[in-house]
């Protein structure tokens, strides 16, 4: 194993790991909240993330972004893109709940059935975007719009990447700062929402004991829908940030980050919002520092190995799980 000697390399890896972890944390929050309230592994959440990134793409295209912008124009562009991305993702998440999960809840479906339905929904969404390649599909008499498809789609360069400052000899770019700030702000807002607002109290109560909550007058359906919506909003923001950071998006963008975000949620303690954040950051660090000494192709294996090991030896996660009955 040839580990890098320079301290700055390690710092650089840790830094990018933290930023990656922030993205994982945002997606993980969606998984953890839905699991806390419904004890359901929302497999399709990874596709909600993907839809969010495409939403951001469409926003940028609609605004006619050709090259990097700056100043007020940049701020407004990004704000608009965020709104659209979050809207796309949030609506997808709510639709998912309404169309796929609620009928099953009504019929008292088993855990296995929920999981299979989630897999089906995930396949549906990702293949939907696979088909949006401008060709004719499904024997329909018209061409599907050409906005996605099999190949990666490039994101217009809205933000020119440049170094902002240096930390311990490693450059920290503006995009990394953006990701960090958005993640922190959204997480803090979510935390305040769950702990200080009435709706948040409703979510916590349903997560703890749905029967008693409904006896106390909490509308379970409303809470569930809100949970999905909030998770979707966060995933949408993460999707846009991911797209800006890596410059591309694709129909199967969600698969690997989705599993890693779930790993993060479990690592921190499923159902636990702070756990999801901690888990995300930790996973990002572990992944990046892990590939320091081996080649990058082992990155995913490290993440999956973390998943398997955590579930084997500490399934409740670091901060402990918070799941209702």
């Amino acid at each position: 194993m040839d580990c890098p000697n320079a301290f700055s390399t390690w710092v650089g890896l840790a830094l990018t790991g933290l930023v990656l972890g922030a993205l994982y944390a945002m997606i993980a929050l969606g998984y953890t909240m839905v699991y806390g309230v419904l004890q359901l592994l929302n497999f399709a959440h990874s596709e909600v993330f993907m839809v969010g990134s495409f939403g951001g793409l469409y926003a940028l295209l609609w605004l006619g972004v050709q090259g990097p912008r700056s100043g007020l124009s940049l701020v407004l562009t990004l704000a608009f893109a965020f709104l659209v991305a979050m809207a796309f993702a949030g609506i997808t998440a709510v639709l998912l709940e309404r169309v796929a999960y609620r009928p099953m809840r009504r019929r008292g479906a088993s855990r296995l059935a929920y999981l299979i339905a989630a897999i089906g929904a995930s396949l549906f969404l990702s293949n939907l975007f696979l088909l949006l390649d401008g060709e004719r599909h499904l024997g329909l008499p018209f061409d599907w719009p050409a906005i996605a498809g099999r190949a990666p789609v490039n994101i217009p360069d809205v933000l020119e990447r440049h170094e902002l400052f240096q930390i311990l000899g490693v450059s920290f770019t503006n995009i990394q700062l953006l990701i960090f700030v958005v993640a922190v702000v959204m997480t803090v807002v979510l935390d305040m929402f769950v702990r200080r607002t009435k709706m948040g109290m409703g979510i916590r109560s349903v997560a703890e004991d749905p029967e008693t909550a409904s006896l106390m007058g909490v509308s379970i359906n409303l809470i569930v829908t809100t949970t999905f919506l909030v998770g979707g909003l966060m995933a949408g923001a993460a999707g846009l940030l991911y797209a800006i950071n890596f410059g591309v998006t694709q129909f199967n963008l969600g698969f690997i980050p989705g599993i890693k975000a779930f790993t993060a949620a479990v690592l921190g303690g499923i159902g636990n919002i702070r756990g999801a954040v901690l888990g995300g950051v930790l996973l990002g660090l572990i992944e990046n520092l892990g590939i320091a000494c081996v080649s990058a192709q082992w990155r995913d294996v490290i993440a999956f190995a973390v998943l398997v090991l955590v579930l084997m030896f500490r399934p409740t996660g670091i901060l402990g799980e918070q799941v209702g009955g």
Binding site: L112, G120, Q297, L307, V308, F313
Partner: protein, 385 residues
């Protein structure tokens, strides 16, 4: 008795009761006749349908898929464990065969253009048949190693762990070039052959012998698995499915029983992997991804779930459906999976027990009182299934 059951509208139980009512030799004869019918399909179907090559190739695929489905049915249908990484054991079987027959060594030598590569051309010897058992043993071991610490987890967690394990196996096969041939795969995997004394039979590239071998193995697998399911192990599985805490309180060794199901499924998948590798000659990590349209974990799971869990015919019908239906939907092109995903959701909403479930499983999954199903059987002199 059978007439009463038939009158009650339960066609399947009527057939089953009449079957069981026959003397044993008649039952055996019927089973043999069924097997003979299945075995004759490669010769019967082509003239009937005038599409010879198509059916011959498809039948082998269906056979392999059915074997995989029967194996996964033990894990998901009998023991109620959600295994999303089943393809990993399939891969273990295939790669074990590829490595032990020397195909990997040969492929690597060829790629590096070593001068002695020609000497390494893999051949199939008589003892190579033992590789079947070696592959099964390795998969059993892998199943136990994976299962021992994880099978005590909740269902959803187990699903994700197995998913992770499935991906790890594929990624390791992809990255460990020296052991598995890496992303470019392994070629020149030898076909099996029988060279015993005066009997010479070369499997070669023809699909039929593999199909018959798979049929035999399906028959053996079904026989063994149903015998096990009708025993204390099967009852333990049913108890664990319904209420694990109660089962443990009653003294059922839950982890051991779950491990048994898991390992059995793994062994069956490994055998399927060996047969697969020996027929297609070429194996690469891409085949063993979760989303592979024929043998991927999700597809095999769909075969079991949609076909009906816990019974014999459910997984087989599911396998046939999952192999044939995409062919009929070929006009959809890439949209097949779109329709497939939507179909999965709809079926889970409206008929979660699948097409041909065992009655017990159907009752469990639709939330009906299990006592209704078993009481009916007891009244008609049959033990609960």
């Amino acid at each position: 008795m059978a007439a009463a059951a038939a009158r009650a509208g339960d066609v399947r139980s009527g057939i089953r009761l009449r079957f069981r009512a026959q003397p044993v030799w008649v039952q055996a004869l019927l089973v043999v006749a069924l097997l003979a019918l299945a075995a004759s399909l490669p010769h019967v179907l082509p003239p009937l349908t005038e599409r010879s090559n198509y059916y011959v190739a498809i039948l082998f695929k269906v056979g392999l898929a059915a074997l995989l489905a029967v194996g996964l049915n033990v894990v998901v249908g009998f023991a109620g464990l959600l295994d999303l990484g089943y393809v990993a054991f399939f891969a273990i079987g295939a790669y074990t065969y590829a490595i032990l027959t020397g195909a990997v060594a040969f492929t690597l030598a060829q790629r590096e253009r070593l001068p002695n590569a020609v000497e390494l051309i893999p051949e199939f010897h008589l003892y190579s048949w033992l590789i079947f058992f070696v592959a099964m043993a390795i998969a059993l071991l892998a199943g136990v190693i994976l299962g021992a610490p994880t099978l005590r987890l909740r269902g959803d967690y187990l699903a994700i762990v197995t998913l992770g394990f499935g991906e790890i196996v594929r990624l390791v096969a992809n990255n460990l070039r020296g052991v598995t041939g890496g992303p470019l795969g392994v070629k020149s995997i030898p076909h099996p052959a029988i060279n015993l004394g005066g009997l010479h039979y070369d499997f070669s590239i023809n699909n039929n012998p593999y199909y018959w071998l798979t049929l035999i193995l399906i028959g053996i697998a079904i026989f063994l698995v149903t015998r096990v399911n009708d025993s204390r192990v099967g009852r333990a599985w049913a108890a664990i499915r319904e209420d694990e805490v109660a089962a443990a309180a009653m003294g059922v060794p839950t982890v051991r029983m779950k491990l048994l199901a898991f390992a059995t499924g793994a062994a069956i998948a490994a055998i399927a992997g060996v047969i697969y590798a020996s027929q297609v000659i070429f194996v690469s990590p891409r085949t063993f991804s979760l989303l592979d349209p024929t043998f991927g974990s999700f597809i095999v799971l769909a075969m079991v779930v949609l076909g009906g869990m816990g019974g014999i015919w459910g997984p087989i019908v599911g396998a046939a459906a999952m192999v044939f239906l995409p062919e009929y939907f070929r006009f959809l092109g890439d949209g097949r999976f779109l329709v497939f995903g939507a179909a999965l959701v709809l079926i889970m909403i409206f008929r979660p027990q699948g097409l041909i479930p065992s009655r017990r499983r159907a009752a469990e999954l639709t939330g009906h009182d299990i006592r209704e199903a078993t009481l009916f059987d007891v009244q008609h002199g049959e033990t609960p299934s």
